[in-house]
C-alpha cells in the first residue's frame, strides 16, 4: 500500500510538471468545466427566480444537491478520468500492452497515468455551491453531518469510479467502451436535481441500480433533516460493493484481453 502511495505521488508530480509546462492550457482546462457547470446553474437561477420552489425544494436546497453531485463527480474526474480513454488511447493503439509487462497492477498504472486537471474546475464549483447553500440555508453543522458530507463526497466519487470501471472493461471486447460508459454515466444528470421531481421508476434506478442519488439527493436530504435522509448512510456500502464488483470484472476482462495487434 505504501509502495503504491509513493508510486502515485511520483506519477502525480511528473504529470504536474508536464501540466505546468503548458500553464495556459492548465488554466483553460480547469475553467472549461467551470463554464459547463455555470451554464446549468445560471439556467436554474433564471428559472427559480420565477417560482418559489421545485416540488418543495428551494433554490439553495437545489444548489446543495447540485454541489454534492459535482463534488463526487470531480473525484472521478481528477483521479479516474483515464478509464474513459482505456479503449481509444491504450487498447486500440496497443499501448495497454506496456502496462502488462511492468511490475505494478495494470489498473493502478492506468489510473495513475493521468491526473485530469479539468476535474479541478468541477471540484471548485462543487465546494463553492455547498458552502453557498450551507450559509444560505443556515445548516446547523454537527459531527455526524460533517461526517456525512465527507462520506457522501468520497463514496459518491467511489460510485462514479466503480460504474465507469464496470463499463470501461467492455473495451477488452469491443475496443471503444465510451458509448457504453456514457450510457450509464449520463444518468448522473438526473441526480443534479431532487429525485422527487421524477417518476418512481427513475427514483428506483438512481437509488438501487446506478445509485448516483446516494451521492447527491439523499445526503442533501440528511443535511437538511428531511425524510429519506438516513438512506444516505448506504452510500459507503454501495460504493464499496460496486468497487469490489468493478475490480473483479476488470480482472475477468483482463484475462480475456487479446491485443489489437497494433
Amino acid at each position: 500500500m505504501t509502495r503504491y502511495l509513493s508510486l502515485y505521488w511520483l506519477f502525480l508530480t511528473q504529470r504536474l510538471k508536464v501540466l505546468m509546462e503548458y500553464r495556459a492550457n492548465f488554466i483553460i482546462g480547469a475553467l472549461s468545466t467551470i463554464a459547463l457547470q455555470a451554464s446549468s446553474i445560471l439556467a436554474i437561477w433564471v428559472v427559480m427566480r420565477q417560482v418559489p420552489d421545485l416540488n418543495g425544494w428551494t433554490y439553495d436546497e437545489i444548489l446543495l444537491v447540485y454541489g454534492l453531485i459535482t463534488l463526487a463527480k470531480s473525484i472521478n474526474h481528477m483521479f479516474a478520468d483515464n478509464l474513459w480513454t482505456l479503449g481509444r488511447q491504450y487498447i486500440r493503439s496497443g499501448g495497454f500492452d506496456r502496462f502488462l509487462v511492468r511490475p505494478i497492477d495494470p489498473l493502478f498504472h492506468l489510473l495513475a497515468d493521468r491526473f485530469c486537471q479539468d476535474g479541478v474546475g468541477n471540484f471548485l464549483v462543487g465546494v463553492a455551491l455547498v458552502v453557498k447553500a450551507s450559509v444560505a440555508l443556515g445548516i446547523q453543522w454537527t459531527l455526524l453531518k460533517a461526517l456525512m458530507l465527507v462520506a457522501a463526497v468520497v463514496s459518491g466519487g467511489g460510485i462514479f469510479i466503480a460504474l465507469n470501471l464496470l463499463t470501461c472493461v467492455t473495451s477488452f471486447w469491443i475496443v471503444d467502451s465510451v458509448p457504453v460508459t456514457r450510457l450509464v454515466f449520463d444518468n448522473h444528470l438526473f441526480a443534479q436535481y431532487p429525485l422527487t421531481i421524477y417518476p418512481k421508476a427513475i427514483n428506483i434506478l438512481l437509488t438501487w441500480i446506478v445509485p448516483y442519488g446516494l451521492a447527491s439527493f439523499y445526503p442533501a436530504s440528511y443535511l437538511l433533516d428531511r425524510s429519506l435522509g438516513n438512506l444516505a448512510w448506504a452510500a459507503p456500502v454501495a460504493a464499496a460493493l460496486l468497487l469490489f464488483l468493478g475490480y473483479r470484472f476488470w480482472q475477468f476482462g483482463l484475462k480475456h484481453y487479446g491485443s489489437t495487434g497494433t
Binding site: G29, T33, L36, Q50, L54, P179, D186, F190, I197, I202
Partner: protein
C-alpha cells in the same frame, strides 16, 4: 499442431476486428439516441415540476415552454461547429500547411463542409424528433410561413456562429490548446444559445448580455420564431439583425485570421 492452433487464434482475432469496428458505429448511433432521450427527459421532468403550482411563467404556458425546449434540443446541431477541434487537429498533424497552400478559399471550404455536416446532423436528429413527439408530446408548428421564416433565420444564425467559431478557432494558433477551449466554448454555448431556458424568462440585463454574443442567433432567435414566441410579423427585422451579425462576424473573423495565421506553429506531420 500447436503452431497451427496459434496461427488460427491470431487470424481469428484479426477476423474479429472488423465486426468490432462496424459495431462501434452502430452502437454510437443507438446509444446517442438513448443519451438524447435522457437529456430530454430530465428537461421535461424539470419543467413539469416548475409548472406544478402555476399555469404561466414569464407569460409562457407549460406547453409553449416544452415546445421551445424540445425544438431547441432537436435543432441544437445548429450550434455544432467543429472548427476549434479541426484547427487543433490540423495544427498537430501539420495538415494546415496543405490547406493554406490550396488554390481555394480556406474559410469558404470550411463553411461548405460545416454546412454539409449540419444537414447530416439534422437528418440524424429525426429519430430523437420522433421520440420527442411520441414520448414527450412535442407539438410541431404547422404553418408553412413560420417554417420558412425559421429556415432563413436558422441559416443566418448558423452562418454568424460559423464566423464567430472561426474567430475563436484562430486562438488555437496562439494557445495550441484545443480540448479545454472546445469544452469552454461548448459550456458557454449551452446557456448563451438559449437552449436551456427561453430568453423571455431571463431578466432584462441578462437578455442584453445573451443577445450581444452570437450563440443565441443560432438557437434562441430562430426557435423563438418557430414557436411563435417572436411573432411572424417581426421576421424581416430578425433577419436584418442576423444579417448584420453575419457581416460583422465575417469581417472580424477574416481580419483576425490574417493576423493570427502568422503565428501558426505546426507541431508535427
Amino acid at each position: 499442431m500447436r503452431a497451427l492452433r496459434r496461427d488460427l487464434s491470431i487470424y481469428l482475432s484479426i477476423f474479429g476486428m472488423t465486426p468490432k469496428v462496424f459495431m462501434a458505429y452502430q452502437l454510437w448511433f443507438w446509444i446517442g439516441l438513448v443519451l438524447n432521450t435522457i437529456g430530454m427527459a430530465i428537461l421535461v421532468f424539470f419543467w413539469r415540476a416548475v409548472y406544478a403550482d402555476t399555469d404561466s411563467v414569464a407569460a409562457l404556458s407549460l406547453q409553449q415552454t416544452l415546445t421551445y425546449i424540445l425544438l431547441a434540443q432537436i435543432f441544437f446541431p445548429l450550434t455544432d461547429v467543429d472548427l476549434i477541434f479541426d484547427f487543433g487537429f490540423n495544427l498537430r498533424e501539420g495538415n494546415i500547411i496543405h490547406f493554406l497552400l490550396r488554390p481555394i478559399n480556406f474559410q469558404g471550404m470550411y463553411y461548405v463542409q460545416n454546412l454539409s455536416s449540419l444537414m447530416m446532423r439534422l437528418i440524424l436528429q429525426i429519430p430523437i424528433a420522433v421520440v420527442a413527439t411520441l414520448l414527450f408530446g412535442l407539438q410541431w408548428p404547422t404553418d408553412p410561413a413560420t417554417w420558412g421564416a425559421f429556415a432563413v433565420s436558422a441559416l443566418l444564425g448558423f452562418t454568424a456562429l460559423f464566423f464567430f467559431h472561426w474567430f475563436l478557432a484562430c486562438l488555437t494558433f496562439y494557445t495550441t490548446e484545443v480540448w479545454g477551449l472546445g469544452v469552454l466554448i461548448f459550456g458557454m454555448s449551452l446557456f448563451l444559445s438559449g437552449s436551456l431556458v427561453p430568453l423571455t424568462m431571463m431578466p432584462g440585463w441578462l437578455q442584453t448580455v445573451v443577445l450581444s454574443i452570437p450563440f443565441a442567433q443560432a438557437i434562441a432567435v430562430p426557435v423563438s420564431l418557430l414557436t411563435g414566441i417572436t411573432p411572424l410579423i417581426q421576421a424581416p427585422l430578425v433577419w436584418l439583425t442576423q444579417l448584420a451579425w453575419v457581416t460583422g462576424m465575417w469581417l472580424v473573423s477574416a481580419l483576425f485570421f490574417r493576423v493570427a495565421v502568422r503565428k501558426v506553429t505546426v507541431q508535427g506531420g
